[in-house]
Symmetry: C2
C-alpha cells in the first residue's frame, strides 16, 4: 500500500513572471476525458487551436501550432529546424533569455555572434541593424520581452531590415504573447515563439509557434520522412543525406507540420489535456479581445507601479522600454530580498520572483500576467509587500501604496 497522499495544493496569489494562475475554466478543461489523437473530434480541436493561434499571433501564416514542451522547447524547435550547422546566427542580448537563444543556436551548430547592451536597457534598432550589416547572418534571433530585466525590445525596424536583406528573424515572444501587442505580420517576423504559462494563463507544457513561408521553404529543403513511416515503394524514404537533415526528431518542424496539417502523419502523441487547456485559454483570450486584454494589462501595471513608487521603492531599468507585464522594484538597501519573498509566500500566500545572474539579490520581479493580472491581486500584493517591508524595518509611508493604486483604478 502506498504512503503517498492525494494532491491538495494550496491556493496561491502568483505575481511572478510565470507560471501564473490559470483561469478556472482552463483548469476545468484539463479535467475532461481523453480523446484519441486521431479521433476526428480531437483533430477538430487541433484545427480550431491553429485558427485561434493565427488571431493571437496576428498573422495569416498557415503554420501556427504548439510544440509539446515548455516554452524553451518552442525556441529550440524553431532554431534547430532552421539552423544548418555552420550557419551564421546573430543574437542581440539584453538579459538572460538572450543568452539562452545564443546557447540553443550554438548547440544547434551555428556560428553565433552576439551583441550585448547593458541589462535594464534595450537596443536602439539602428545598433542591431548595423550589426546585421557587419555580421551578415543567415538568421537573427532576439527576445521581445526579457523577463529577467523587465525590458521590451521594439522590433518593427529590425523586422523591416531583415526582410530587405533576406535574413530570417526569429522572435522569442514567450513573455509578451497575449499581454501586449505582438504583430507577427506587420513587424515582418519570420518565426515567433509564444509561452503558455505567462500572459495566456495556461499551465506550462506547451509552446505555441508560428512561421511563414520563408521559414517553411528552408524547412522543406531539409525534410526527411521518419524511418518506419516512409513507404520505400513510393521512393520516399530517408534518402536525404543525414548530414543536411534537421538534427532533432522531436523538434523537426517539417515533421510537426505534417502531423498538424491535413496529412496527419503520425509523429508524437499530441498532449491531450494540455491541448484542451490551450484551446480553452485561447478561447478566453479572444473572447476578451486582444486590445481589451492589452489595456487591462496596462492599467494593472500602472496601478502596481504607482503603488510601488508610493511605497518609496525605485524601479529598475529604463522605464521608456519597460516590459508592461513585469515590474522590477530595486530591493532597498539593508533589506534581504529572499526573506521578503519567503514572508510573502508563507504569511500571505503570495509569490513574487527574484532574478538571475548579476540581478540576483538586486531586484524583485513582479508579474502582472494573464489571469493573475487583476485588481484584487495588485492590491493584495501591494498591501502585503508594505506589511512585510515594515516588518523588516524599512521606513515607508504606511497606507499610501494601496491608495495610489486605487487612484489609478478609479481614475482619480
Amino acid at each position: 500500500m502506498s504512503a503517498y497522499r492525494e494532491l491538495s495544493p494550496s491556493l496561491r496569489t502568483i505575481m511572478t513572471p510565470g507560471p501564473v494562475e490559470a483561469d478556472p475554466r482552463v483548469l476545468r478543461a484539463m479535467s475532461y476525458p481523453v480523446l484519441g489523437q486521431f479521433d476526428p473530434e480531437f483533430t477538430g480541436l487541433m484545427n480550431e487551436t491553429m485558427s485561434m493561434l493565427r488571431e493571437l499571433f496576428r498573422t495569416g501564416n498557415e503554420w501556427c501550432f504548439p510544440v509539446d514542451g515548455t516554452s524553451r522547447s518552442g525556441l529550440e524547435a524553431v532554431l534547430v529546424s532552421l539552423i544548418r550547422p555552420g550557419d551564421r546566427v546573430l543574437v542581440p542580448i539584453f538579459g538572460r533569455f538572450g543568452h539562452l537563444l545564443a546557447e540553443i543556436a550554438e548547440r544547434s551548430g551555428a556560428e553565433v555572434s552576439v551583441i550585448e547592451t547593458e541589462w535594464g536597457t534595450v537596443f536602439e534598432p539602428e545598433t542591431v541593424i548595423q550589426a546585421i550589416h557587419r555580421h551578415k547572418p543567415h538568421l537573427v534571433a532576439i527576445v521581445h520581452g526579457e523577463t529577467s530585466t523587465g525590458q521590451m525590445q521594439p522590433l518593427e525596424e529590425i523586422g523591416k531590415a531583415c526582410r530587405e536583406l533576406d535574413i530570417l528573424l526569429v522572435v522569442d515572444a514567450v513573455a509578451t504573447i497575449g499581454g501586449t501587442a505582438v504583430e507577427t505580420d506587420q513587424w515582418m517576423l519570420d518565426a515567433v515563439i509564444g509561452g503558455t504559462q505567462k500572459c495566456l494563463s495556461v499551465p506550462s507544457g506547451m509552446a505555441p509557434v508560428t512561421y511563414n513561408s520563408r521559414v517553411e521553404q528552408k524547412l522543406l529543403s531539409r525534410k526527411r520522412i521518419e524511418r518506419g513511416l516512409a513507404d520505400p515503394a513510393a521512393g520516399e524514404a530517408a534518402a536525404r543525406p543525414v548530414s543536411d537533415s534537421i538534427r532533432s526528431n522531436y523538434f523537426d518542424l517539417s515533421q510537426l507540420q505534417d502531423y498538424w496539417g491535413p496529412m496527419r502523419l503520425n509523429h508524437h502523441t499530441e498532449a491531450t489535456s494540455m491541448l484542451y487547456a490551450l484551446h480553452e485559454g485561447l478561447r478566453i483570450v479572444l473572447a476578451e479581445g486582444l486590445e481589451e486584454r492589452f489595456t487591462r494589462h496596462r492599467i494593472n501595471e500602472m496601478a502596481l507601479t504607482a503603488g510601488l513608487q508610493a511605497m518609496g521603492l525605485q524601479l529598475y531599468g529604463d522605464q521608456a522600454s519597460k516590459l508592461p507585464v513585469v515590474t522590477c522594484p530595486l530591493i532597498p538597501e539593508g533589506i534581504d530580498g529572499e526573506q521578503v519573498r519567503s514572508m510573502l509566500l508563507h504569511q500571505f500566500g503570495i509569490e513574487i520572483a527574484s532574478s538571475f545572474g548579476p540581478l540576483k539579490g538586486r531586484i524583485w520581479r513582479i508579474g502582472t500576467m494573464g489571469f493573475s493580472c487583476r485588481q484584487t491581486n495588485v492590491l493584495q500584493v501591494l498591501g502585503a509587500l508594505e506589511a512585510v517591508l515594515l516588518r523588516c524595518g524599512f521606513r515607508l509611508p504606511a497606507g499610501e501604496a494601496v491608495q495610489a493604486a486605487l487612484d489609478v483604478y478609479t481614475g482619480k
Copy 2:
C-alpha cells in the same frame, strides 16, 4: 467576440495502444490551481514524484524524473545526451519504434548500425549479443514493448552482456512501464524511458526517465552550465568546448538533473498540471501495487484474446513473445479495416487502432492499458466488434466472443 465554443469532448472507450483513458482522479488532479515552480510545496511534489518513479522503475537510481514532452522527448533526451557525434550505436529493430530509435540516434550524430528481425517476432538474445560483439557499439538502444507489432523483447541476457562489455543499454519502455514488469536494476538497464499515456493512464505530455551512475558519469563529462546562469567569477561558465557539449539545451539531462536535484538550478518551467497528473497517476499505480497491476493486465489480455479467437479472428505475430498490453488481430480477408474502426468509433464510441508501414491494413491493434484495461471495456469492445463484423458481412459464431471472455473472468 470569439465564435469558438467551450470544450465538451465526447466520452470514448479507448482501446488503442495509447493515449488511453485516464483515471478520473488523474483528470481531477490536473484541475487543481497552479503552484509556482520553486514554491516549496511544488518542489516537494517533484521530490515525491521522483521517489514514486523509483518504485515504478524498480531501481535504486538517484535520477528518475519526467522530461517535459511526449514519450519520444524522453527517448531523444537520453540519446542526445549520451551520444557524442561519431559514437557507434547499435539498434536491434523489430518494428516501427526501433526505426525511431535509429532515427533519433542518427540525428544525434551517431554512427548507427541496425539489425532487423521479421516484424511479428523478437530477437533471440544471442543474436543481439553476437551483433554487439561484431559492431562493438558504445551504446545499444532497444525497444521493450513494440506497439506497432504487439511484441515484447526479453532484455535480461542482453543487459548482462552489455554490462560485461561496458556498453550502455538504453531501453524504450514507453509501452510497458506500469503494465508489465520492467526491472531496471535486475536486468542491468542503464537508462529506461517510460510513457505516461499508456499503462500509466496519465495524459500524454511527459516522459519519465531513469538512468544510473554509469550514464551520469558520461553526462557529467559533457556538462556545460547554461549561459546567463553561470557565474564567471566562480570559474564555472561555458568554458567547455562546444564541440563536445550536448547538442540540445532542452534535452540536456545534465542540466535537467540540476533542476530536479537539490541545486534547483533554473532550466525550463516545470509543467505544473502535467506533474500533478503524473504524481496522482503514480500514486494510484503504487496503491494498486505493481504485481497486482500486472496481473490485472494479464487477465484482461487473456479475456480479450479468448474473445477474439472465439469470434474466429487470428492473432498476428509470435504468441510466445506477445506484448501483454497490445493484442493484434489480423483483419479478415474481404473486410475493410478502416471501415470497421470508423463504425466502432461513430456507432459505439469505441476506438481501436490500425498499424504502420507494412502492417497498415493488415492488422488492428487493441490495447488493454492502464485505466482502459478493465473488464467492462473488454466486454464492450468484443460485443461491438462482433456486431460491426456481422454488419460488414463477416461470418462468425454470434455471441461466443463475450461468453469466452466471461469464462476467463469467472475462471470457468
